[in-house]
Symmetry: none
Subunit: 408 residues, 2 copies
């Protein structure tokens, strides 16, 4: 029997409130240079410690599979209970979400960036000399003005940072994925975007739209000295993802500050609550919206940001900032509260990693693992063990008593 079907069959509607607090990239590794401490261990977290003392179950989560370092997309899909191997989101889609573009089902999104071509059309600089963001915006504005449609397909262009931008193709019957137009090195010409499945009519239509767009766009850029061409990658459509609310019988809301996380939440049908910009404000808003939703995804970016910078002290302080705000959330304690990351972002690695992130669950039925704090090494000793992140939501539902007994 399919396990997702079993979960669905056993799911009961309850009035329980669940909050999932994601400290992005919170997991870290202890190295000698940092006093063999992780930021979670080094941080002063009196409020988190008090929560642990009230009784929590701890463990560590494998974001995707052993040794796999996830991007934010797979990391969050896993947390939302969608197997990141089954539900893959193209890089173009992620990039579009990151720029705050709203995607519709069937939209094809592509990551693009300006490049320099010589007279023969050979790529001489894959990043167009990393033109300034303002130049990118100006060029994207030009393209937008000139190209609204290719055939019956609407084209939406949005500038990103430096040489980067995103192109959305919106129309009937489009499908991805397509191969990249980027040959991946200089000294070669642009490639055609081709259907990954040559039999797919939708991919053929999308490939035609991309080709027409390239044909229409190159003349618009021709006069620019550096950015007279562009490369496209990760050309894929927004995947069909079962709605969170249908899948878990929970009405979900997203309290995130950064566009990408709002976008990922929106992909699974969460309602975006706009406005708050600090974790304290996010928790305040949770209090205000408590009655309106069953599930709150609350995203805190800075643990990841400072991990990416390799800034141990700043990551530690970010955790302390979260800890200082935690009592606001606890003013209306959700029936089930999870605190975790979407992956680890160890400071010594200055990037995402595969290290299982620590997780805690607090509810009337979580029991207590009798640990003093919430840390990586503490979580190693917890009752949840090491498990795949896609099962977290199932534990949260179980703690919310949302599952009927299986069998007699």
């Amino acid at each position: 029997m399919n396990l997702d079907n079993l979960y669905s069959e056993l799911t009961l509607k309850t009035s329980a409130k669940i909050a999932l607090v994601v400290l992005d990239g919170v997991g870290d590794i202890a190295i000698k240079e940092n006093g063999e401490m992780t930021p979670l261990e080094a941080a002063r977290t009196p409020n988190l410690d008090a929560l642990v003392a009230q009784g929590v179950a701890q463990g560590r989560m494998i974001p995707v599979a052993p040794g796999i370092t996830p991007g934010s997309g797979p990391g969050h899909l896993g947390l939302f209970g969608y197997d990141p191997l089954e539900f893959q989101v193209g890089r173009g889609v992620i990039e579009a979400l990151g720029l705050g573009l709203e995607l519709k089902p069937g939209d094809i999104a592509a990551r693009a960036n300006f490049c320099t071509l010589d007279k023969a059309g050979v790529i001489t600089d894959r990043r167009a000399g990393r033109i300034a963001t303002e130049v990118c915006q100006e060029l994207c504005g030009k393209l937008t003005k000139k190209i609204k449609k290719v055939g019956d397909v609407e084209v939406i262009i949005k500038a990103g940072k430096e040489h980067r931008f995103v192109v959305i193709f919106r129309g009937k019957g489009l499908e991805g994925p397509l191969t990249a137009t980027d040959p991946n090195r200089e000294g070669l010409k642009l490639l055609e975007a081709r259907p990954e499945n040559p039999k797919s009519a939708g991919q053929k239509k999308a490939a035609k739209a991309v080709a027409e767009f390239v044909k229409a766009a190159l003349p618009v850029l021709a006069s620019h000295s550096k950015a007279n061409g562009f490369l496209m990658r990760g050309i894929a459509h927004q995947p069909e993802i079962p709605l969170f609310q249908d899948r878990y019988l929970l009405k979900p809301a997203c309290l995130a500050v950064y566009p990408m996380y709002k976008g990922l939440a929106q992909l699974v049908g969460m309602t975006k609550i706009e406005g708050p910009t600090t974790i304290a404000q996010q928790f305040e808003r949770y209090l205000a919206e408590y009655a309106n939703y069953d599930f709150f995804f609350i995203h805190f970016k800075y643990t990841d940001k400072y991990g990416e910078d390799g800034n141990f002290e700043a990551k530690r302080k970010a955790i302390e900032e979260f800890d200082a705000a935690l009592p606001i959330l606890l003013q209306k304690k959700p029936d089930v509260l999870a605190i975790t990351g979407d992956h680890s972002t160890p400071c010594p690695m200055k990037g995402h990693s595969w290290h299982p992130q620590p997780v805690l669950i607090h509810s009337a039925f979580s029991g207590s693992d009798k640990l003093d704090r919430f840390t990586e090494t503490g979580a190693n000793l917890g009752s949840l063990g090491v498990f795949e992140a896609k099962f977290l939501i199932r534990y949260l539902q179980a703690n919310a008593r949302m599952f009927d007994k299986f069998g007699a």
Copy 2:
């Protein structure tokens, strides 16, 4: 390669004796109200402690899948090494086993209960006013007397507690599952039991037999003021389960007191050893039967019973009763001994739960996790980690040196 096939190919016949002691529902959660202790932690268990001191491997087991709370059926199938998602046992079958009925392969079993119908056939009380068990027995006796067969299908009826009973349909070519005749609420009429797969000839035949039975049975009950109708649910056939002895090359015996556990053991082909009613007597009988079997499933009910009652003290004492009897078992120590539960039944929840149950394995090759006691938080630290219960039997076989090396 299919993993079960691999295990089979590697399995060697040895003379090792394995005992699996199931303290039903032993796992629990620590909450403040119980001094942040579980019954296992609170119990005085000198004999278990001595066993742990001799060297045991510990861990925790997920009965079915993360967050899933199993009934006794899936819980025990998992312990017997059968994936509970693959081998599903209908509620009618479990109920029949619980009443001590012996099922044959192909039998269809249904959970039934008396209900009250008005003159138009509308259900006015789904439990027939919870008639006394004696009344139920009398009515089942009447039905048995009047209805021995429907067509070529034999009918077996057995009364349960209060308004509950079980009906077995025995004949060639019958298959389940069928939909329930129970509309699940009052104010509606009885439904027809229909094949869940409309293309199955066996299910059609079974549905016909059920319909004829209902037609024949209602007139027999018509004169009763309360129990003039009945509802049927969980109508399914006994699944085809590979025999335990063939699968593991172990000759198995069941030492259980309660009918349901004897029935579950019988489902996989264990020999039921009848007679003992206390855990001490069960262990005595194990000594007497030591030479006759390779595998002993010894079931202790009371940890679950008192967990269901939410009676912490009684659950603690049940563990102490088991501990006091343990030296009897150890007079002829099996080569491999496992002590665990089929799931957790936390006192604060007064019911089964999804929390992984603790497990210990003791053998000459179990090694020692150097823990002082056998408890939930101790088991969190053990070498077995958190794993699916269906793999326990494989660890027991491995400890019994029943597996050849895989590959060179």
